[in-house]
């Protein structure tokens, strides 16, 4: 965070606290992309995404007065969004309504001579199957795994976002990874998706 950005954030927050709509709009536009990506990676594509994004930002603005400018504004907003995602995961007794699994021919998709279309289909199916596995994890484990493995955050940052210790976060990530690897061993599409990390995704 550059010095100017930091100070501008502080000033922007103060404008928001006065109820200035232009400032509120500006803050939303600055951070909406990152928050949406974070929620999407944690929860997967689902029909509640609009409501979740809205709820996360409403929560941000309700709590804005408590931001003490000790963490960067982006990190603080991410923390609020993660808390929102955690609440969503905890409240839902059933699985998250991800897109339904389609019964594609796993052999055709994973064949070495599969074309670009098949590979794109493999990526889509792999994502869906991955989130089906993640649905079986506890909310805390899912958050730790998705923030670290899918959103690319460090373990320390993940621990800060979820409010856990680094050791506990590491353990949750490790257990979730084992669970995904076990599922991938039994599912050729998921296995191929996970193993193709170094391939270029079209």
């Amino acid at each position: 965070v550059t010095a100017v950005l930091y100070v501008e954030d502080v000033l922007l927050v103060d404008r928001c606290l006065t109820g200035e709509p232009a400032a509120t709009r500006e803050l939303f536009r600055r951070h909406r992309g990152r928050v949406h990506a974070c929620l999407f990676r944690v929860l997967g594509g689902n029909r509640d995404m609009d409501d979740l994004l809205q709820e996360a930002f409403l929560q941000v603005f309700r709590s804005l007065r408590s931001w003490r400018a000790e963490a960067s504004l982006a990190t603080w907003i991410d923390r609020v969004a993660v808390r929102c995602a955690y609440r969503h995961l905890s409240q839902r007794q059933r699985r998250i309504a991800t897109d339904p699994l389609e019964d594609h021919d796993a052999g055709a998709l994973t064949a070495p001579d599969a074309g670009p279309g098949a590979r794109r289909q493999l990526a889509r199916d792999g994502v869906v199957r991955l989130y089906a596995v993640l649905d079986e994890l506890s909310p805390a484990a899912r958050l730790a795994f998705t923030l670290h493995e899918l959103d690319g955050r460090s373990v320390a940052e993940t621990a800060e976002l979820v409010g856990s210790s680094v050791a506990a976060t590491k353990l949750r990530v490790w257990r979730a990874r084992k669970r995904v690897e076990a599922a991938a061993a039994a599912d050729p599409v998921l296995r191929e998706f996970v193993a193709s990390h170094d391939r270029e995704v079209p």
Partner: protein, 434 residues
């Protein structure tokens, strides 16, 4: 498993984003307004009003139900008959009721009753000044002005009820009184004042100045120029507020025919001529601008306290200087302050924030941005090294612009956070400046 960056994020289309943004902005503005209301000084008013409404509803219910059927419950005592009614004409009047000496301004109306051994002075309009002897074990003397009671056990003070429909202004010269308003009690000591709208405040010049504003031993005076009576725009001398048509005001108090004998030997002295006005106290000398820069804002006009030039008083207060970086251009200095604020901590960072505000105001003539930086300072560094200086600079910016709600709020905050600071006295005056 290495999946970072592998999950493509499905973008939201513009229409959905616009809808979300609209709802978020509406919710955020609502939350901000509610937050400000919660933090406003008058936030306690709502429960008090609710309590008053409940009490009023109970009273109405009682009246509708009529007398209680239970014979054990005593009927309410009949209203006390006024023993003394006073309506003054253009002159001031002085009434000695034994328990107290009551001076009243021109066009003042009040009545004295003695319920249950105490003394109740009910003011209908105008201003009374009382000198009350020690009451010992006797019930207290109460001055009632509208819904405000001033409870006295022995002191000198004044109660100004203006035209009988607005604010009450209580000023204490000696001793202590208790002001009861909307079931809330405030102790007002010598040198302090209490007003309906502002609550407890200190008087300019302390008890001595307050004493000059009252007559008493110093002789009668005209009402203070900032009193509600003087402020009431529709209150002409000899105004008829609360006066019955065709009933000319009496120069001498009117004794009630049913007044008990103990009051019949009291005398009401009415001056033959209007009281001479008190000499105005000297104004403080206009000081030089401490920062060497005259603020670009006009002096406030219209404050009604002739005893003090508030604009000059504001400028007279010390302003903490900005961090000196030897940077000649304001923009360059601000860039460097930004850098310090972001990368340092503690006093250095707080001083940088304060310096941003200082440069914005004094060197860039940008009070709006200066106020933003000061608000940021106050939130970010409560108790910081320049905390009081930041609060005072905020007072200075707000109150040199105009005496409005923002000025009052800034002055209140400063007074609350720095009650012992040299500028606290000026802040007190600013809380009541209009």
């Amino acid at each position: 498993v290495r999946l970072a960056g592998r999950i493509p994020v499905e973008p939201l289309d513009e229409e959905r984003l616009t809808q979300i943004e609209r709802r978020v902005v509406a919710g955020a503005v609502d939350a901000a307004v509610r937050g400000q209301q919660l933090r406003a000084p008058g936030r306690l008013l709502a429960p008090l009003i609710a309590a008053a409404a409940i009490a009023a509803a109970a009273a109405v219910g009682w009246a509708i139900r009529g007398a209680p059927e239970d014979p054990q419950v005593a009927a309410p005592a009949p209203a006390a008959v006024p023993e003394l009614r006073v309506q003054t004409a253009p002159q001031r009047s002085v009434v000695d009721i034994g328990d107290a000496r009551i001076e009243s301004d021109p066009d003042t109306a009040f009545a004295v009753t003695r319920p249950r051994g105490g003394v109740l002075v009910a003011v209908a309009r105008g201003k009374v000044e009382l000198e009350v002897g020690k009451r010992g074990d006797r019930p207290p003397l109460v001055v009632r002005a509208g819904d405000t009671d001033v409870v006295v056990v022995g002191t000198r003070f004044s109660v100004d009820y203006g035209d009988g429909s607005g604010d009450v202004d209580v000023r204490v010269t000696e001793g202590v009184v208790r002001v009861v308003h909307l079931q809330q009690e405030t102790r007002v000591a010598a040198g302090q004042a209490w007003r309906t709208r502002t609550g407890l405040i200190a008087m300019a010049g302390g008890p001595r100045a307050a004493g000059a504003a009252l007559s008493g031993a110093g002789g009668p005076t005209t009402p203070g120029a900032d009193s509600p009576a003087a402020r009431a725009p529709d209150r002409a001398p000899g105004g008829d507020a609360g006066r019955e048509p065709g009933h000319e005001p009496t120069h001498a108090p009117t004794w009630g025919t049913d007044a008990p004998g103990m009051l019949h030997d009291r005398r009401a002295a009415v001056p033959d001529a209007p009281a001479p006005p008190a000499p105005p106290p000297p104004r403080p000398a206009a000081p030089a601008h401490p920062a060497g820069h005259e603020p670009p804002h006009p002096r406030p006009a219209g404050h009604d306290d002739p005893r003090l030039d508030l604009g000059a008083a504001i400028r007279a207060q010390h302003i903490e200087p900005a961090l000196d970086l030897g940077e000649p251009s304001p923009a360059g200095a601000i860039t460097r302050y930004y850098d310090i604020a972001a990368h340092r901590s503690g006093d250095e960072a707080s001083q940088a924030f304060y310096s941003i505000a200082w440069v914005r105001y004094f060197r860039q003539d940008n009070p709006a941005d200066a106020l933003q930086a000061l608000d940021a300072y106050v939130r970010r560094f409560p108790g910081g090294k320049q905390y009081r200086a930041a609060l005072w600079l905020r007072v200075r910016i707000q109150c040199l612009e105009r005496f409005d709600a923002a000025c009052h709020a800034a002055a209140y905050t400063y007074l609350h956070e720095a009650p012992d600071a040299p500028a606290a006295h000026v802040a007190e005056l600013l809380t009541q400046a209009e």
